[in-house]
């Protein structure tokens, strides 16, 4: 951790980057820290309690500015970064990755190839919570599942915290704000809520990297991250890739190649 602080201070001092996004100690759990100088870099921490997905800030021009910036990244964050790269939202010349590997060594990545090679070593596993809820849902009939989600989503009050937390929800105008025509009714109500959530899910197929930030952000505790996660798990074997892993431009649904598996079509 000391090495991380030193390195962050050094790259800020020599002008390699103008900003380091990382974590600092918070009241209950670590919170994001934006360091512009060596002084603030001394507050940086990086351990297993840091799970806020910092990738969400990387597409915010007003935050990161025009220069180069660094981010201390967890595996989840790196997956999001890879997906953002696939979606043309990040470029190598603006980004520097700092992370600490399992042996406690400080690692630095400059290229997306390096990130991809590193991330590939980690398997994407369900957490205990995810496993518990998903097994329950997988055991349900179609109808039971529909009822389950309807009940869950009836609590949604459209605060859009999930959207703000998701690194991949970077649109300047979200579909819920499109009003010519008004595809999705803006008020919270059973049907209007389903409209929002079905749309969100659709927009995430083949993109969600299962970081869980959306579910974590929901103030009423709707496990919405599991919808997109499950879609990803279903998609991965069919299309032969996991979002956030290999460098594949485009989307499972937007591209077609002879070697796609897509066995369900044939």
């Amino acid at each position: 951790m000391e090495k991380l602080r030193e390195r962050a201070a050094a790259i800020l001092a020599d002008g390699t980057v103008s900003l380091v996004i990382g974590y600092e100690e918070g009241t209950k759990r670590p919170r994001p820290l934006f360091c512009h100088d060596g002084e603030s870099a001394r507050k940086l921490i990086f351990d297993s309690r840091c799970f806020h997905n910092l990738a969400v800030y990387l597409t915010k021009k007003e935050l990161v500015g025009n220069g180069r910036f660094a981010v201390t990244a967890t595996i989840s964050t790196l997956r999001s970064i890879m997906q953002l790269y696939v979606e043309n939202q990040l470029s190598e010349d603006k980004l520097l990755i700092l992370t600490v590997d399992l042996s406690g060594t400080l690692r630095e990545f400059v290229t997306f190839d390096e990130i991809s090679a590193y991330v590939e070593q980690f398997e994407l596993k369900r957490s205990e919570r995810e496993q518990a809820i998903l097994t329950r849902i997988e055991g349900m009939t179609r109808e039971e599942r529909w009822n389950f989600w309807q009940e869950e989503m009836s609590h949604c009050f459209k605060c859009y915290a999930c959207r703000s937390a998701c690194p991949l929800c970077y649109c300047t105008k979200c579909v819920v704000e499109v009003n010519r025509p008004q595809w999705i009714n803006p008020w919270p109500a059973p049907v209007a809520n389903m409209e929002w959530h079905i749309n969100r899910a659709m927009h995430m197929v083949g993109r969600c990297t299962a970081c869980g930030a959306c579910g974590d952000a929901c103030p009423v505790g709707i496990p919405i991250d599991l919808i997109t996660r499950k879609m990803m798990e279903d998609m991965a074997p069919e299309f032969g890739y996991i979002p956030g892993l290999p460098v594949k431009k485009g989307n499972a649904l937007s591209t077609w190649k002879l070697d796609d598996r897509e066995q369900f079509i044939r």
Binding site: T172, K173, V178, R180, K249, S254
Partner: protein
């Protein structure tokens, strides 16, 4: 408020017999924003159109809906009428009350109600329509023809004779393709070379044709009327501007044992070579893979023989760029080799040949000067077996289709054999004889009846060698599946016609579709056989599916006419039904976030990157832009754009939404 005019057509009785057209007009007339609604017997007639024109002026209409037949039929008619009356033609829409309603339903209340709904949807849509301008794109009147077989030759000549320039590129050192390898051609048995060579020479001498042999397409960019082709001119190692084609170098080249491609492996050639005596151009290239000098750094015998110093050892591949307006794909086909058939010896028996090899044996310019002799010992075969459908129509071999030409050339081969070896005995094993074509059936009958070729209906299970003979084991299904065994001296397989190697990569370079067997796909199996689904790219010959020469030539002329028709315009006028990515005032510029999912989804490569730059030149954002020349208005991108930043002009989200809501809101 809108002022929409609605015109309901009886279509004689086509619509009015089942739909209460007067009621439709009456009820629609009561809709909000409808200024005028009438019905009439024939809206498309002169008086009908006059009603529309007069109403546009009288009621100052800002939209027109005609409830009549299919827009495929009369949309241009009614749009023109509106334009003549001063209304933007794209403010006129048609509701299809005939194909979508009267023709498919019984007379009755519900049918009339459906008709009302159909018109109502369009009224709501038209309220949201915007005036559009048709798109004009300039046309480069020069064609690129890829492949110099008979298809490419014919297409090039036809286009060139309409006065337009043609660039013909051929992968091999000479044009001619498979036809130059054939001996005599069914159904007339005229000599293939004799009818082909004059055309090859014509291509070389035509003032409008620029021929590049030993050349391949590197890339193609752009769109109909405006393509840029990058062409790789492979290094020939011989300077064609000084080479006289004397052939002295070929005589002296010490590497003589290279299997000749032209003779389908039955003869040999040298490392510096002209593929065949009638080649166009008749100048050699050095095959760098086999040349001693390129292999080991020493030899240069050809250089010493060459009187004019034409050998260029250090020549490199050259990439040139050509602007063209249309492309004709004529890259032909290939045939499976004998090694594809484990049951017929995997290619290890010398006297088991493909049909193409047999053509070379039967050809006067071939390795045996037209005498049918066994490759193994040079003996004249006394018993010969022809096996039709070798590979074709065999799903287990991955080739379920019929190769179409084999029945005919097998009959030809048997006939040629009987003409050349009078005491010979020939047997053809066939599944059934497909001789559809002018004089084709007669040709086959001649083989059977006059030339006494023995036709056996059945498949050959196995061919193996025993004491210098080839044992052919098959069944005769007409004799109730009786086993047949023939001791033959030679076996000829009519091997399946398959897509040329590299056709898949070529299709991807050109963004044209291909079928599961890698033949290029036509835009419509019946009505657009020479078009591809990429505008401005056309197909000719066996690259689309195996076919014979008459069909190939017909198709090539068809493609040429399409090109000529395209070139008869100085600019192309296109419907403005294309996608647009929205543009907004700064600092937003667009709701597009530049994810370029649309780019990966677009089947026509129409999405481009536009860089929004500040005054000082720094990049603010990169967003999507649609190339109006390439976009076909398919709408795939619209479905993909999460932020709804793309719309199809004339079918915007707003318009379609209004249509749907008009049905839900009552």
């Amino acid at each position: 408020m809108s002022k929409i005019g609605v015109f309901i057509c009886h279509c004689g009785e086509n619509i009015s017999a089942t739909v209460d057209v007067e009621r439709v007009a009456r009820e629609i007339g009561g809709m909000e924003g409808v200024a005028h609604a009438i019905d009439y017997k024939y809206m498309c007639s002169d008086p009908g159109q006059t009603f529309i024109k007069e109403a546009v002026k009288k009621y100052d209409l800002d939209g027109v809906v005609v409830g009549a037949c299919s827009p495929r039929m009369h949309e241009p008619t009614f749009r023109r009428a509106c334009a003549e009356a001063g209304l933007n033609p794209y403010l006129c829409e048609m509701a299809n009350l005939r194909e979508h309603c009267s023709w498919v339903h019984e007379k009755g209340e519900e049918t009339t109600e459906k008709a009302i709904d159909l018109v109502k949807m369009l009224v709501e849509k038209v309220k949201k329509n915007n005036p559009l301008e048709s798109i004009k794109v300039p046309v480069t009147k020069r064609a690129l023809v890829i492949g110099g077989g008979i298809a490419g030759i014919q297409a090039s000549l036809d286009i060139a004779n309409t006065g337009h320039k043609v660039i013909l590129i051929e992968r091999d050192p000479s044009i001619g393709g498979h036809m130059s390898q054939l001996s005599e051609t069914f159904p007339t048995l005229d000599c293939s070379q004799c009818i082909l060579t004059p055309r090859m020479v014509e291509v070389a001498q035509h003032p409008n044709i620029k021929l590049y042999t030993y050349a391949e397409l590197e890339s193609l960019e752009g769109f109909i009327g405006n393509f840029t082709a990058k062409i790789r001119l492979k290094a020939k190692s011989v300077n064609y501007s000084t080479c006289t084609g004397c052939g002295a170098c070929i005589q002296k080249c010490p590497v003589k044992k290279i299997p000749s491609e032209f003779n389908a492996g039955l003869g040999t050639r040298t490392a510096i070579y002209v593929p065949f005596p009638q080649a166009v151009p008749n100048k050699p290239v050095i095959d760098r893979v086999n040349c001693n000098y390129y292999k080991r750094g020493a030899c240069k015998i050809c250089e010493k023989t060459c009187q004019v110093g034409s050998i260029e050892w250090d020549k490199e591949d050259e990439i040139i760029s050509e602007e063209v307006g249309a492309v004709v794909l004529a890259t032909g086909f290939d045939v499976k080799g004998t090694d594809f058939f484990p049951e017929y010896g995997y290619g290890k028996y010398k006297d088991v040949l493909t049909g193409l090899q047999f053509e070379r044996l039967a050809s006067a310019s071939g390795p045996t000067f037209g005498e049918i002799r066994r490759p193994s010992d040079g003996a004249i075969p006394k018993k010969i077996v022809f096996i039709a459908c070798a590979g074709s129509r065999d799903p287990a071999k991955g080739i379920p289709y019929c190769s179409k030409i084999c029945c005919m050339y097998t009959a030809k081969h048997a006939m040629l054999y009987q003409h050349k070896v009078h005491d010979g005995e020939s047997t053809v094993f066939y599944m059934d004889i497909r001789a559809g074509g002018k004089n084709y059936e007669e040709f086959v009958r001649r083989a059977i009846e006059e030339d006494t070729v023995n036709y056996v209906r059945g498949r050959v299970a196995r061919v193996y060698e025993k004491n210098g003979k080839l044992i052919v084991k098959g069944v005769d299904t007409l004799l109730g599946g009786e086993q047949v065994e023939i001791e033959a001296d030679m076996v000829v397989l009519a091997t399946a016609g398959v897509a040329n190697c590299g056709s898949e990569q070529l299709a991807q370079k050109l963004h044209v579709s291909y079928d599961p067997y890698h033949f290029f796909a036509e835009a419509h199996p019946k009505l657009k056989p020479v078009e591809t689904n990429t505008a401005g790219i056309f197909l000719a010959g066996a690259c689309q599916a195996p076919k014979d020469i008459p069909e190939t030539v017909g198709m090539a002329s068809g493609a040429a006419v399409k090109v000529a028709a395209l070139f008869s315009n100085n600019e192309l006028v296109r419907e403005p039904i294309i996608a647009v990515v929205n543009r907004l005032a700064p600092p937003l510029y667009s709701t597009c976030v530049g994810c370029f999912m649309c780019e990966t989804a677009c089947p026509y490569n129409a999405i481009e990157h536009e860089e929004i730059k500040a005054r000082d030149g720094s990049l603010i954002r990169t967003i999507a832009r649609v190339n109006s020349g390439l976009c076909q208005g398919c709408g795939t991108c619209v479905a993909f754009c999460r932020s709804k930043s793309i719309d199809i002009q004339g079918y915007t989200n707003e318009q379609v939404y209004a249509e749907v809501m008009s049905l839900l809101n009552d």
